[in-house]
Amino acid sequence: MKKILQLALGLLTGIGGFLEIGSITTAAQAGASFGFQLIWAIALGTICLGFLVEMSGRLSAVSKQTVVDALRSRFGFRFYIVVLAIVAAVSFLVLIAELGGIALSLQMLTGVGFPWWVVPVAFFIWVMLWKLKLDLVENGASALGLVTICFVVAAFRLHPHWGSVAHSFVPSLPTDNRAKYGFLAVSILGASITPYLMFFYSSGAVEDEWDESYIPINRFIAGSGMSVGGLFSIAVLIAAALTLRPAGINIEKFEQSALLLTGALPRWGFVLFALSLAFGCLGAALEISLALSYMFAQGLGWNWSENEPAQRDARFSLLYTIMIALAAIPLLFGVDPIQVTMISMALTAASLPFSIVPFLFLMNDKEFCGEHRNGWVSNSVVVIVIVIAFVLSVIAIPLQVMGG
């Protein structure tokens, strides 16, 4: 019974918690600028994420350790601190972007400028972590995130040519604007493959005391939750391809993407877009704040349970408090959340080898995973996608940056 509940909640988190500012922005830009052509990047990124999430759950179920615990134990302090610095820096940028996303959606709904919303939003997120238990935080945010299903409804109502959609699962190159195309592909991969999600997921598995009997459930949650989530991203891309692209709109400013649903869902499209953005980013902001604190606390051997009162794990609680406060500062000065999003997604893609390769070593280590070590399929899928993401980012980021 307990397992069925966990299965349902795991799926809820996978689906309701999938879309956030990174996936929405990158998919919308891709659809507006290149039609269906970049669907393959979403598919590739989502498959890779599904494999990685499954692995981190399996590692925790078998070894009773979180990914960060295992990284430090296996590779030692100096190595851990390098991985920590890279992943924490990139995740922190994403946290800024998510806070900005919530503030922007409130600006859309109320007309009050987003810098005014930053402090109340940061405070709200902090209070949720300070006072609520992990399950409530996670499931509550994911349940609200189910509103993002409106993108799927919109995609169907626009009657896409499904043959072309299917065709776009195979990568192809555009005739012009290749630099922008490459950069968007990199950003999509970076928005899909988020290392913080692995740390968050494995910490949850340890808090829920998973053992080897959870391996099949874990596989199901990771596989189906992430695939459905990926379909949501594809729905955003389809909606943008069929509404913004015909109007000639290239998204340069965030305000433009707010028009995404107004064609397919007249009457409610605008409000639904704002709510989707708000709840999607809320879930992600909560997860990232916790994941950042987990990274430090687990690696340094502090208490880290999100279910305990703040007093019991003082250093852990202080850490997320500081992170949330620091993330709010650039937004108060009017930093453009969309620029932060695009930069952080591209940097995530570029940093993947540093975070994922050591993790793959753990997944093939008998000491941590025993007989449940990775097979050749999991290893190959992840290695291939990470190599693609890294090579693309090394080529595309400098091109994009120099080309404007």
């Binding site: 070894s63 030692g76 690696g299 340094l300 051997g301 502090w302 007093q311 003082a314």
Partner: protein, 121 residues
Amino acid sequence: MDLVRDVLDKRLLDRDDTIIGRVDGLIIEVHGDSQPRVTHLSVGGPAVFARIGNWAASLAKLLGAHWGPKRGAPVRIAWSDIDHFGRNVKLTISCEDTEAMAWEDWIGEHIISRIPGGGSK
């Protein structure tokens, strides 16, 4: 046993399974011609920063002089207080017997408890 593989960087649990830190360093004594012997594990503080670099150690020392709990020496746990090794290093003593939790307690007392709602969920 392989000290680096089996002891260093492992998580430290006290008698009651409270996480009290990680094995951040090993203290080895050399007496004359006899074999070098590990006498203590060091936890947190200077041992960690020294592994990042000298600059980090000096910075930590500077900050520690003004902030936080005033503890004398770095936290050391005697080799004889180790119960057994495994996934974690389990101790026979309680966290109260060491100063390993000094920072946790200091932050809890000076910062967290002053913010409303820190004591309950």
